[in-house]
């Protein structure tokens, strides 16, 4: 199953038969005080630089989250979308927990955006899915609902199923729904890695859909987080993750993504890996 996302100039195809698509996570002020300051002060040059850095590191989609406390998030979303579009035609993933912000962004976005996110909560389904249908976007769907964030696999499957059904009622095709089965810190629950990996595999096998995951939660509370994130990413990709939300400006992350492509026979003569290496270590030439 393929999910297509686009800007007015460029289309990206996400699929199990495609190389992994990295959705850049860096334009998100949560835990990034410099970016939060830049957004607060309308310093879009900083945001544009973040966009370019990520594109250079191989991101094919850029996440855009401008949730800064006290700011007019809808206006900021619109301004950020324009600013980013000035420097790159990479398709964008509009990320907000506030549907009004998503609406404002979609109104000005040219192309088929990815919306982040809907989940199994009744209110969310009611607010977000009609927007997805109206603007004909793709959408990230989190496997959580009014009862909370499940740790087991069957509940995740049931929530995914519910979201597909609700979406179908509005004519949203299944391939436009990208499931995020939510990976939580293994430091707080040593079974959460297994739970996320099993969920990825079972959701892939049962629904065939694309899946994303925010891969850095997994390492919270443990030492040497970078290696943990890379190992988890690789295992998750084997189990059906096709478009992680991650940060390939970190070389090891980029390397992990490229190597999973190579090991899956998706990198002819290892050329993508080699050219990324040269790009990252120019002095070694």
């Amino acid at each position: 199953m393929q999910t297509k996302i686009s800007s007015d100039k460029k289309e990206v195809i996400i699929g199990h038969d495609q190389p992994v698509v990295a959705i850049g996570e860096r334009i998100n002020p949560t835990g990034r005080s410099k970016l939060a300051n830049a957004l607060e002060q309308g310093d879009f040059a900083y945001v544009q630089n973040e966009a370019l850095k990520q594109v250079k590191a191989g991101c094919q989609v850029l996440g855009i989250n401008v949730g800064v406390s006290g700011a007019d998030e809808a206006a900021l979303m619109v301004d950020t979308l324009h600013a980013v579009r000035e420097v790159t035609d990479t398709p964008l993933c509009l990320d907000s927990a506030n549907p009004k912000v998503l609406q404002a962004g979609l109104e000005v976005y040219k192309g088929k955006a990815l919306v982040n996110s809907v989940n199994g909560e009744d209110a969310k389904l009611k607010e977000v899915l009609p927007m997805v249908a109206h603007y004909k976007t793709a959408v990230v769907a989190l496997t959580m609902d009014d009862k909370g964030i499940p740790t087991d696999v069957p509940t995740r499957l049931a929530i995914a199923d519910k979201i597909f059904n609700e979406a179908a009622k509005l004519g949203i095709p299944t391939e436009d729904i990208i499931i995020d089965p939510l990976a939580m810190s293994v430091a707080a629950d040593d079974q959460s890695g297994l739970g996320a990996l099993d969920s990825l595999a079972q959701i892939r096998d049962r629904f065939g859909v694309n899946q994303t995951i925010g891969a850095s939660n997994i390492s919270f509370g443990l030492p040497a987080r970078r290696a943990i994130n890379c190992v988890f990413l690789a295992m998750a990709i084997v189990n059906g993750l096709t478009c992680p939300i991650t940060d390939p400006t970190v070389w090891e992350i980029r390397q992990t993504l490229l190597l999973t492509d190579l090991f899956h026979g998706k990198d002819s003569f290892a050329m993508n890996y080699i050219s990324a290496y040269r790009d990252n270590f120019p002095q070694d030439e």
Partner: protein, 215 residues
């Protein structure tokens, strides 16, 4: 004495299998439950907190220590109930995740650490409306209310909840502390008027101790 030091060591190192036997022996030897808890278990957790702060140990080790202490407390509790005696609590804390947010891991970790420090903690769950925070804090006669918020869209709810508590008859009798990835010191204290902000579970314990005038 040796046995009591072993209790402290067991909590410190998270030896869950050994703790029940050690506590039972101490009780059989006539050690006061209060002494076991305050002088050895809570002392051990103080050391655990300090090592976590110094990045010498990590979240799972901290959790194992806290769970070991709880296993030990399970041996003591029936005895306390039978004698009708209660171990004095540092204070009563009501903890919840703000409205619109379902995250529970960080909050539950903070609860575990507060309990291990000797607080009586009431977990009022996730997606908690401001009015429920006030209601529960009033009903439970709380000294402290802890808010967790992991989504930036939770900001208005943090603000609303802090205001609801401060404007209620509880007023300044109740201290409000905030934590979670979405809240900063500047926002929680500066903009919302909370009494404090904690970056992690151990900082939360320290803040709570400050509020009740210990530690």
């Amino acid at each position: 004495m040796e046995n009591l030091e072993a209790i402290k060591e067991a909590v410190n190192k998270g030896k869950r299998k050994e703790i029940a036997g050690l506590v039972q022996t101490a009780l059989d030897n006539g050690t006061e439950p209060k002494v076991i808890i305050n002088n050895y278990m809570i002392e051990a957790m103080k050391e655990v907190g300090a090592r976590f702060e110094a990045k010498k140990i990590f979240v799972p080790e901290m959790m194992m220590a806290a769970l070991t202490m709880q296993t030990g407390l399970d041996v003591i509790k029936p005895l306390l109930e039978k004698s009708g005696k209660n171990v004095e609590k540092l204070g009563i804390v009501v903890m919840g995740t703000v409205f619109g947010d379902l995250h529970d891991i960080g909050k539950n970790l903070a609860i575990l650490m507060l309990e291990s420090a000797g607080f009586e903690v009431h977990n009022i769950g996730e997606n908690v409306p401001a009015a429920t925070f006030v209601e529960k804090a009033t009903e439970l006669n709380a000294d402290i209310v802890g808010l967790s918020s992991l989504l930036t869209t939770g900001d208005p709810h943090v603000k609303e909840t802090v205001a609801a508590i401060k404007n209620s008859p509880l007023g300044d009798k109740v201290k409000v502390m905030c934590g979670g990835a979405a809240v900063t010191e500047k926002f929680a204290v500066g903009e919302c008027g909370a009494d404090g902000h904690a970056v992690d579970a151990i900082a939360g314990v320290k803040l709570a101790q400050k509020f009740v005038g210990v530690g």
